[in-house]
Each structure stands twice: as C-alpha cells, then as structure tokens.
C-alpha cells in the first residue's frame, strides 16, 4: 500500500471491542479491518494498539491515513437524563432529541422534579442532562422550578437547556450561579406539536466532543486518531441517513430502516417521512422526526435475553426454536450467565435465532406507527399515530446475530408487515440487506468528510439477502 493513496481509518471505540476499518477512498474498498479489546476503563491505548497491530498484520505496511475518525460507545456510551413538562409533549421531544444524538437514556422525567427525582438523577450520574419544558411563550414555571431544583443538587454534568425561550436566561443565571455548566440552545418544541431537535442535538454533540471524550479517557489515544466525531449510535444513524438520501451525484436506497440487534439493546433507525399512505388517515400525536432512532432497553441478545422471552412469549420462542422447554431454558441461562458467549451448537443457534426474531418483531413494531379505526357517527375513520413505514424500500440489519447467525433473512423478515397485525405500519415489501462488514458507523463517520466515497462504500457493501420464502415475515410458528 502506497503511503500516498487516499485512505481513511474509521475507529469504533465500542463497549466490548475496539474496531477498525481501513478504507481506500478512491476505490471505495475496504483495505482491511482490525479488532482489539475495549480497554477504556483501564487505558484505551492498549485496545487501540492491539487493534492497529491486528490491522497491520492483515495489510502489511500501514498507509499514511488521510483521515482517522472515531466514534465511541465505550464507558457506558453517552449516558443522558432528559427532563420535560408534559410526558407526551416536551418530555417526549427531549427524549427524541437525546436519542437522536446517539445517547443512552438512563432516566426521563416529566412535570416538576421532586426531591426523590433529584436524588435519583444524582445517583444516575449522567454525562449530560437535557432540560426542556414549555413551548416558547408557554409554561415557564415548571422549567424554572426544575432548574432551581437542579441548581441545588450535587449534579456536576453539563446541562443543555432547550425549553421555553422566555425562561432560558433566568435558568442560565440560576444554574450558572450554582456552579453548574450550562449550554443554552433552542427549544425542542417551540410551538405546540412542532419538533425542533437539531439545535439540541448539535449542542449535545459539541459537549460530547469537547468534554465527554476527555472525561471518559478516550483522548488518551489522541495520537492515534484525529477526531472523535460522535457517539457510535449517532454514527450508525448518519450512515443510515446517507445510504437513504444519497448525494447529489448518486442516488441512495430511498426510505429505509436499520435494525441493530445488540447484546443489551435493540436499536431501530428509520429514515423516512412516515406520512400517511392510507387514504383519509388523520395523523394524531407528536410528529416524529424524519430520522428517528428508538432504543429498546428490554430487548438484547444477552443482557436482556430474559426480557425478550417475557415480551415475545416463551411459547412462541419455543415453537420458533423447535426445542423442548428444558433445553431452551438451559441455553438461555448459559447466555445470561456469559453475556459474551457466541453460539457454538445447533441448539444455541436455534435459541439465538428465536430471540433475534422476537427482538426484531417487537422493536420494529414499537418503532413503527399504528393506525386505529375510530367509529364516528359518519362511519369509521382512521387515525394514524407515529410513522407510516409501509413503503420503506430497504431494511438493513446489523449486529452479530445477523452477520454471523444462520438465518439473517428469517430474522430481518420479522421487521416486515404482518397480516395478523394490520394496524402496525411496518415495511410491506422492502429489500433486505445485511451490514455484514459492520460498515454503517464507518459510513456515518466518513460521510462527514467524503460523502461520495462513503455512499459508494455503503451501497456496495450492504449485502442483499434472499427473502422469497420469508417475504411474509413468518413461518407457521410465528404469531
């Protein structure tokens, strides 16, 4: 590899591994990959050096990378608490903004914070707190009350203030005089039912880059990269956005959905307007963002395997795995006891597949909008809550169980519409892809500097999977 070739190194400081992808920018090809342990709790440079050594072994001489960009979900990810006024309105807008910034939500609060809430938040020790409440010119009492309560707390993380603009200056003064670090930005809901999450997202990302990266010790490896740009979930989201929208020169895949099945959570990202496609459907509730991310904290292949069973129903998973209950439970216990365990027998693969199908079905159902038939004196009318994803063109799956598992198409098919649940507005006939090289985060990072190369890289490496027999989402076993 010549030292002058235009190359990029994309780094993911993950919670378990430090992962590297080396990319040839001219050909939009992967030159090589490297992996090391995640050592952020001791010294991040150890894992990074191991990953670099792994990469070097594959490709020989290391090129002089033009870019070395990183994302991070190490050290617990970007842990956030959000506070709003009405649960379904500004509290929800704050939640959407934090999720959109790639955060891991560890607490969400609405209305007035009580002494108990404050104690809980202090215990959570979030990396950032997002404080919202009130539309512009609307309620300012509650956000002022909450700011005072936070000012009197032991909390020492940065506080992003994104509520009623009338209250922003007094809040900044109140928190500032209490020694808190305050970042005021625009209201997440300036008018009733109008979302404005980009300014809050930008503020969160800036704090992440300026302070969290240092606070978590990631900058100890600063000589080995140029920038940590964003939390990894945000990088995946940006990758999805690029693959969907394309660039001026090259078309993307169109409206798409990403299902990211992890050990602790299942993330779903949609890049789609979600406007009603059913004639006469009346949109209700808070409008949802064009790029939407949800995190299902109870659906994870290892840490939260037991709650997948709870949510999907044991009977269904038994039927899917075709295993007797005792055997299924035995393997489930193995997974719960050893959260890094990879399946190494037919039976373990069968349990993994059943868990993944359950997690995908439930996570995508929660992410997608629903219709509800309302009976009026004029006859039935249809109300739509959330995003209509029925015309989504592509579903991309990522995560170990999809990449290394035995039946990625069968798992991803569970993201699709289901005739037994017609109210759920899930993709009707999307193309299914697997992110088999784990490149979505890399596309997101690279997209910030070389969008054309990043798009080509993504489009050529999303691996289509056969789906004919699974098109309708379920075998006879599914219910």
């Amino acid at each position: 590899m010549s030292r002058n070739a235009a190359t990029a190194l994309l780094i993911d400081f993950g919670s378990t591994y430090t992962k590297l992808r080396a990319i040839d920018l001219e050909r939009s090809e992967i030159i090589g990959s490297g992996q090391g342990p995640s050592t952020v709790t001791s010294d991040i440079t150890i894992g990074m050096e191991a990953a670099l050594a792994d990469l070097e072994q594959q490709i020989g001489t290391m090129p002089d990378f033009k870019y070395r960009l990183a994302s991070s979900s190490a050290a617990g990810g970007l842990r956030m608490v959000t506070v709003g006024l009405v649960k379904e309105l500004t509290a929800e807008a704050a939640r959407i903004a934090a999720l959109g910034a790639g955060a891991k939500l560890i607490g969400t609060y609405a209305y007035r914070l009580t002494a108990g809430d404050i104690a809980e938040i202090e215990n959570h020790q979030p990396d950032i707190l997002l404080l919202a409440g009130g539309t512009d010119g609307g309620n300012d009492e509650v956000i002022l009350h909450n700011a005072e309560a936070l000012a009197g707390s032991r909390l020492d993380c940065p506080i992003v203030v994104a509520g009623n603009r009338v209250a922003t200056d007094p809040i900044a003064a109140c928190l500032g005089s209490a020694g808190k670090s305050v970042v005021p930005t625009e209201n997440v809901m300036p008018e009733f039912n109008v979302l404005n999450i980009e300014p809050a997202r930008a503020a969160i990302r800036k704090i992440f880059i300026d302070r969290i990266v240092h606070a978590k010790g990631i900058d100890r490896a600063a000589e080995m990269f140029d920038h940590v740009l964003m939390p990894t979930p945000e990088a995946v989201m940006e990758g999805a956005r690029l693959l969907s929208d394309g660039t001026d020169n090259r078309q993307g895949l169109g409206p798409l959905l990403v299902v990211d099945i992890g050990g602790a959570t299942t993330d779903v990202h949609s890049v789609a307007s979600g406007d009603p496609t059913l004639e006469g459907a009346i949109q209700r509730g808070l409008p949802e963002p064009y790029v939407k991310r949800t995190v299902e904290g109870d659906l994870g292949m290892r840490h939260n395997a037991a709650s997948i069973v709870e949510a999907a129903g044991l009977e269904m998973l038994l039927e899917e795995s075709r295993l007797p209950e005792s055997r299924f439970r035995e393997i489930l216990d193995l997974f719960l006891a050893d959260v890094e365990r990879l399946p190494d027998s037919e039976d373990e693969h069968a349990v993994d597949r059943a868990l993944a199908r359950g997690a995908t079905r439930i996570a995508v159902r929660r992410h997608s909008g629903r219709t509800e038939v309302v009976y009026t004196v004029m006859g039935p009318a249809t109300a739509q809550h959330g995003k209509d994803l029925s015309t989504v063109a592509a579903v991309i799956g990522t995560g170990g169980v999809l990449v290394h598992g035995s039946d990625p198409a069968g798992i991803l098919a569970m993201a699709c519409a289901d005739s037994n649940d017609p109210e759920s507005l899930r993709p009707r006939s999307p193309k299914l892809y697997i992110d088999s090289e784990y490149l979505l985060y890399a596309c997101g990072l690279l997209g910030s500097v070389e969008p054309e190369a990043a798009l080509t890289l993504g489009l050529t490496h999303m691996h289509p999977v056969a789906q004919e027999e699974h098109r309708h989402g379920r075998s006879s076993a599914a219910g």
């Binding site: 006024l85 009405v86 309105l89 539309t135 010119g137 209700r284 309302v374 009026t376 004029m378 109300a383």
Partner: protein
C-alpha cells in the same frame, strides 16, 4: 356594559382549539381557529379526533388561557363530562372553557343544553349557527373581566 379587551392585547392570550372525541367534523373548528388567529389571538390548533386529555396537555405546555372545545356529532355531553375536573386536576383551575357546536342530538331547547354544559364547568356554551365575531366578542369581554379579577364578564 363590561369592558372589552384591547385588540392589541389579544396576542398575549393563548387559546387551544379542537374537536373533541371521535368527531371528524373539522370545518367549523378550522374556521373558528382561523378567525381567532386573524383577530390576533395566539391559537394552538389540535384539530379533529382530539381526546379530552390532549386539550389539557396542550394547555399545560403552552400555558393557555382558554380552551375552545368543538363538538358537532351529538355526543358532546358524553365527551365533555369531567372536562373541568381534568383541568382542576392538572392545575388549570381557572382556565376559561368554551364549548360549541351541535352539542346534543334532537330538539332539546337551547337553554336546557346550555345549562347542562355550564353545569359541567364550561364558562360559556355556544349554539349551532354561532358566527365567529360573536365568539371573539365574548372572549374580549371575558378576558377584560379577568383582568379585573372576575371569572367571566356579566352576560
């Protein structure tokens, strides 16, 4: 004759409008919302098919001064039962509540219908065929009265 609100003060008054319950008749409510906006009021439009609690939640978040409930399909009394209680529960004891439309089915005399809705805690009820200037006039008088510490203007 009670005072009337100075039209330039209307922008300081936030009103929530919507059609309550399983009711899709949006036209009258839209005309009302547009007229209120044109008159200078700050209006939060919820539209058709709005459950009672959504009016309340919107009013909390926007610190609304009044809620204007429309009901056109004859089920208004059922939908509006407990509406004032919901407001009180949410800390909106004093919010001004108007209701209007085809509030009941059949030929009940208006006085009877009006009393029913006033008993439910609405400050004013408006019969079918009410024109928007009449509503705006009532609002102007009521908010002028409120500035003087009264609940509503004498009618």
């Amino acid at each position: 004759m009670t005072d009337s609100l100075d039209p330039t003060k209307r922008q300081d008054v936030t009103l929530v409008t919507g059609v309550i319950g399983s009711d899709t008749h949006i036209v009258g409510n839209r005309i009302l919302s547009m007229a209120l906006e044109e008159a200078g009021y700050s209006v939060v439009v919820l539209g058709a098919l709005t459950p009672a609690d959504e009016f309340i939640k919107a009013a909390i978040e926007t610190a609304a001064d009044g809620i204007m409930v429309s009901s056109l399909y004859g089920q208004g009394e059922l939908d509006c039962r407990g509406f004032r209680d919901l407001c009180v529960e949410a800390g909106l004891e004093d919010i001004l509540l108007y209701v209007g439309g085809n509030l009941v089915v059949g030929k009940t005399p208006w006085e009877v219908v009006e009393k029913r809705f006033l008993d439910l805690g609405f400050d004013r009820a408006f019969p079918p065929g009410t024109r928007t200037p009449g509503v705006i006039e009532a609002l102007d008088r009521d908010f002028a009265a409120r500035a003087q510490g009264k609940r509503v203007a004498d009618s």
